[in-house]
Amino acid sequence: MKPVDPRLWSRIGSARRYVLAIAGLAVVGALTVLVQALVLARMLAPALLPGTSPEDSFGWVGALVPVGVRSPGVGLVWLAGIIGVRIAVTWLTERAAHRAGSRVISVLREDVIDHAAAMGPRWVASGRGVDVVALATTGLNGLMPYFVRYVPALISAATITPLALVLVLDLDLTSAVIALVTLPLIPLFMVLIGRMTAERSQRSLVAMQRLRGRMLDLISGLPTLRALGRSQGPAERVREFGDAHRLATMGALRVAFLSGLVLELLTTLSVALIAVSMGFRLAAGNIGLETALAVLILAPEVYLPLRNVGSHFHAASDGLAAAAAAFALLDEPLPHPSSGAAAPSLAGRTLLASGLGIETPDGSALAPASLTFVASPGEVVALVGANGEGKSTALMAMAGLLPPSRGAVGLAAATGAPASTLATPDGSVDTAEWSAQVAWVPQRPDLGPSARTLSLGQRQRLALERAFSSGRPVLLLDEPTAHLDPPARAEVASRARAAADAGAVVIIATHDDAIRAIANRVVAVSSNSTVSSGAPADGATEVAP
């Protein structure tokens, strides 16, 4: 995974100023780290070795910190000032990083949800809605560590490391060479180890998830096992799955921690080599104490940002993966572009389906296969059939929410108004205008965030109430009595009848005899599992007058 996803940066919008602030603060922070090293060296050298020559041994770098800092009083003031600046930089960076993170998460969340909301009912019915909401909430929240920890570490690595190297280069060529040789080894080894272990990690990750899934599945099946008198054996199986999961995980970790081992080994050993090399050169008089101390304090700072990048990457990768998934979703094309001519008024018109066929999401069948019926004002039409035959899908097509794969939904010709087609596979009138004229009540109606606390039965009653009192000319009800008691079912049936009697077209998908009893017509809906078998058989039969 790339540490910086360009798609993320192109979408961060108003969070950009916070990221720029983090970058600016990182430069200031880098300077304080370097100056602190020079100040400490200046202060300590005369104290550790009285009689040091008063000359400045720092070369051009010495311009950053005047020789006067060697006096302890002046030096402590400088030190206090530097620490004060570092405190401020740390505080401001944290605040800016949090703001950047939460801004970006909100922006992305709203984009993803807007996109998902426009994907249409077929997409919602595929069950991906819940996953996408989880991605847009919990998943994208994983970007917080990315912005709060990883991005500042990355920017520090891009500022502190090169600046410290430049200083070391000026102060002591040998130490600079050691650093220049070891630094490229770090990314090199990381990539090599990553490549070598990628396949193995992937394999063990799959095994780990599977074993964990099995273990939790077994525990969560306890009520079922107890009800069947079979609950006593599986504790041992839970332990077996747990042990297998542990072995798989440890196998993966032994490899995964290798990169950490190499990172720490290279960085610490390099610092040790620089110290030892300077020690012997000091003893031989080839380097000054002040310079040696400055390099000794600077050397770990060259490597520290790289270590931080490495240690925060894991926490950041979840958020990056979520962001990548979000971009993949945003790239999915939206179905059903609202198109064409203005939709006609549905009031007082006869609705018809002719040869209506809609492919299932996997494309393996047509459900419904070929549905033909008319529904005139004043009529209740019941759509019946086993689950999966396409009753709900047919209602969605009648509501203008799904385009047909075959045939059409439309209006019969009437006096003063021509026949009209809502949608064919080629598309025709503006479906949004059509949808706004129908009162569609799906199974498990939602009614918006404020109604989420209500029970399914309560929501169903409210949704039906909204439909019956809407005065819309077409009512499309999907199993309206499924979660209701017999008295409530009877009431729904009588109100549906009353709506039809008042001039509405009422189409109800149902298994309920109470609804069949008030229907003018009962239409059987059936599917056809072979999409490519030429013209589908007549899939609609009127089974009762």
């Binding site: 306890l222 069947l228 950490g260 009614l447």
Partner: protein
Amino acid sequence: MTRGVRGVRGTRGVRGVRGVRGVRGVRGVRGLLGELEISWRTIALAIAAGSAALGSAVLLGATSAWLIARAAQMPSPADLAIAAVIVRTLGISRGAFRYAERLVSHDAALRGMTNLRARAYERLERYGTARVLSLHRGDIVARTGPDVDALGDAVSRSIVPAGIAVVVSALSVVVVGSQDARAGLALAAALTAAAIVPAALTVRSLRVTQERGARADAAATIAALSLVEAGPEHRVWGTTDEARAALVAADREVERARDAAARPAALAAALQVAFAGLGLGAAVAIGIAAARAGGLDGPAAAVVALTPLGAFEAVAALPAAAAQWYRTRAAAERVFHLVEPAEAFAPEPRPGGAGDDAAGHDAASRASRSHATQRNGAAPTLVLTDLSVAWPGATPTPPVSAVIAPGGVLGVVGASGVGKTTLLLTLAGALAPAAGTVTIGGRPIDGDDTGGVVAMTAEDAHVFGTTILENLRVARGDVTVDEAREALVSVGLAPWLAAQAAGLDTELGSGGLTVSGGERRRLLLARVALHPAPIHLIDEGAEHLDPEGADALRALVRRRSAARHSTILVTHDPSLLDVVDTVIDLGPETEEP
């Protein structure tokens, strides 16, 4: 044995809450390690390895400071040789010890999680049948999944880092203090402040996140769910903009909550820098003053002044450790809320007064042996006399009476919420009657009959993430391939089975084949067909049961009756009542019919 409501409450006092294990939530490190069954030796080993790693870094800083200061005095190279070897060795040991520490602590954590999961299962398994049968699957998964993970994470992310911080800080103080006591004291004070204050602020930040942030996150999730899942509905009713406005408002509140939580977090980070700076400044000032006054030689002063540069790394890990401990405590509370007996339920005293594991299993297997004799014959007669059911404390249902002779079929109907499930639990022996009696073969039914003589298939019975065959073997361990096939054919799943490439070995559930609602119901009926219990309670929600499913159910019930096995069928669907002999109507909930 008759267990009235009072009997159940009575047992709780005796060995309910206290008897199993007197821990509600985790009190302290000792409690947590006890729950995870991790020994102190393992933890000590991990802390030792981790301290050796970070200690190497501290000692590397101190030794190289000494080396440079000593070298400046221009001694013979031999005087530097030992220090040079030590410095190089410390350069290597840090990474190696860190690697060892990570492996030891993760292994311990994973062992602990498995121990806890297995024991959670065992504990739940031994609780009252009523409680087990009314557990929610989502709860079990959340508690034994991520929550148990959070308990295990406390080992590698909280307890071990805290131990390392203590050991390494002590080491730094000893190194500096051995050269100059005042500098040692100053460093100890700075380290203590850097250990406590930022960690406390981090916990405060988390509290804000958990209270205000979690509420805001939940509101955003609800708004997002409504916008996505009800997208078509919003389109029809013109409420899309309203729903979107709700999401945007929820998002603004999420941002405000995050910002409120970020304030103490930023202060914690800033104070860490401040305390480390104070420690360094004090050590430098003291070191220079002592060197100038001649109290310390150059190398010793270098050690005093420069050791603090690396000494704060261990305490820098403490805010994260405190945060993990905070999350772990919350998770532990949830885990033990589920795993321990709640107010109204108690572990069921099994015959023989099961106190420990061995006795409990013994008693249970005795019980199932005694039932085994009845299994293959005709069902014992089930008699309900003026039976009224309720959860302890709830309003009891009106009394009902019925006799279910061998091979009989009892139908139970009634509005949602009137107590059909409660009646089932009572008939399964899981719940004591509120009034009246249930007898089986002339004796009162109890929890040990559940699953043995009286089995139950709930509306939401679990289909396991394993093969079709293993899912059927849940009914009986020795189901043969032929029996399994026959059972699937009998519920009309023959075409479905034929469509599966791996046949009976096809994996179901997550990662495998997803079953539709109708297929799932019929698979559960196949399980009923294979189960040996002479009485089976089937809770058929009847919501969206298609005609094929209804036919399969009728055929199953008739086959059971022919074999003199009794069936109790709970349903919403009056058309299914053509197969029952007797109907109990629990009536409407509150309204007039």
